[in-house]
Amino acid sequence: MAIKGAITVDTEKCKGCGVCIPTCPTDTIALSKEVNSKGYNYLYMANPENCTGCTNCATVCPDAVITVYRVKI
C-alpha cells in the first residue's frame, strides 16, 4: 500500500520564512520564485510527486498557512 500526500498553501499569508523546508523528509517543498502581494517568496510543492502528507511542514509553520492531505492507495 502506497501513501500519497499533497499540501495547499495560503500563499497570501505565507511569509516565506522557510522553517518548514528542512523538516520535509522527501524534498517536496521549496520557496517559489514568484512573490505574493507582500513581496514574500511563498511556499509551493516543487516536487509534488514526493509528498507523503507527513504534516511536518504544517506542524512547524508559524503562520498556519499549510493544509495537508493524505490518501492510501
Binding site: A6, C17, T55, V60, P62, A64, T67, R70, V71
Partner: protein, 253 residues
C-alpha cells in the same frame, strides 16, 4: 493519482485550527510566537474549551496575541499578567486561565508577580517565551540574554560584570512549592512542536485538578533581533541556547 484527487476534504489530515482567527499575524517571518499560538489553539480545540478559556497577553511582541486566538482576552500591564490571572482564576475557578509572557515581561519587570503567583500555587497555566531578547522594542538585552550575546544594549556582547548573568528563571520557579509542572520545550522541528503541544495540554488539564501552577518555558527564536535568517536562527538556538537552557521536564508531580 492527480493532486486534485488528493486535495479533498475527506483526505485532510492537518490544517489551521478554527480557534485561530484568520488575521495575518504581525510577527516576523519564522517567529516562534506563531507556532506556539497555533498549538495553544489546537489544544483549546481538542479539549473543546474555547468557551471556558481566558488568555492574558503581556506587553511585548505578543501583546497582540489577542488578535489571533478566538477566545476572551485580557491585556495586562508589563509583567503583571500573573496577577490578573490570579484574580480571574480565583473568581471563576471553572475557567481555564493562561498567561502568555515573554522573557522581559516574565523574567524582568514581572518577577515579583510570577514568583508569587507560582508560589501561591495558582491553578493557572503560564506559557513563557524565552528568546533571549526584547523583540518589540528593537532587540535590547533581556534577563535571559546569553553571556557574550550581542543586542542593541549589549553591543559588545553581554558582559557579566556590566550586565549580570542570564537568568534561569524556570529553574527558580521549579523550586516553588506551588508549582506542579515545570518544563522547558521548543518548537523548531516537528518533534519539538508535538512535545510542546503535549506539555501545554497537560498544563491545561492540571489547571482543573487543583494541583497548582503549570509553567512551560518555550526556548524560542527572535530571528530579527538576532539578525539571522529564520532557519539559521533555529540552528543558532540549538547550538547556543539549548546548552544553557536544556530542554525537558524540570518538575512533574
Amino acid at each position: 493519482m492527480e493532486i486534485n484527487d488528493i486535495i479533498k476534504p475527506e483526505n485532510k489530515v492537518y490544517g489551521k485550527s478554527p480557534v485561530l482567527k484568520d488575521a495575518v499575524m504581525h510577527y516576523c517571518p519564522g517567529c516562534s510566537h506563531g507556532t506556539v499560538h497555533k498549538i495553544i489553539a489546537e489544544v483549546i480545540e481538542e479539549m473543546d474549551i474555547q468557551d471556558k478559556t481566558i488568555g492574558i497577553s503581556p506587553v511585548g511582541c505578543s501583546v497582540f496575541a489577542y488578535n489571533y486566538l478566538e477566545i476572551d482576552w485580557q491585556q495586562a500591564a508589563h509583567g503583571r499578567a500573573p496577577a490578573l490571572a490570579t484574580a480571574t482564576k480565583r473568581l471563576m475557578p471553572d475557567k481555564y486561565v493562561f498567561t502568555y509572557q515573554g522573557d522581559g515581561d516574565l523574567a524582568s519587570i514581572g518577577t515579583a508577580e510570577i514568583m508569587h503567583a507560582c508560589n501561591r500555587g495558582e491553578n493557572i497555566v503560564v506559557i513563557f517565551i524565552n528568546n533571549a531578547i526584547y523583540g518589540m522594542t528593537g532587540g535590547q538585552m533581556a534577563p535571559t540574554t546569553l553571556l557574550g550575546q550581542v543586542t542593541a544594549t549589549t553591543p559588545y556582547g553581554r558582559d557579566a560584570k556590566l550586565n549580570g548573568f542570564p537568568l534561569k528563571i524556570t529553574e527558580l520557579i521549579a523550586q516553588l512549592e506551588g508549582t506542579c509542572y515545570v518544563t522547558r520545550q521548543s518548537v523548531q522541528n516537528p518533534a519539538a512542536v508535538r512535545k510542546t503541544k503535549r506539555a501545554i495540554r497537560k498544563a491545561f488539564e492540571n489547571s482543573m485538578m487543583d494541583k497548582g501552577t503549570s509553567f512551560i518555558e518555550v526556548v524560542s527564536t527572535c530571528n530579527s533581533g538576532w539578525k539571522l535568517s529564520p532557519v539559521a536562527a533555529n540552528t543558532w538556538m540549538e547550538e547556543n541556547m539549548f546548552p544553557f537552557y536544556p530542554l525537558g521536564d524540570i518538575k512533574d508531580r
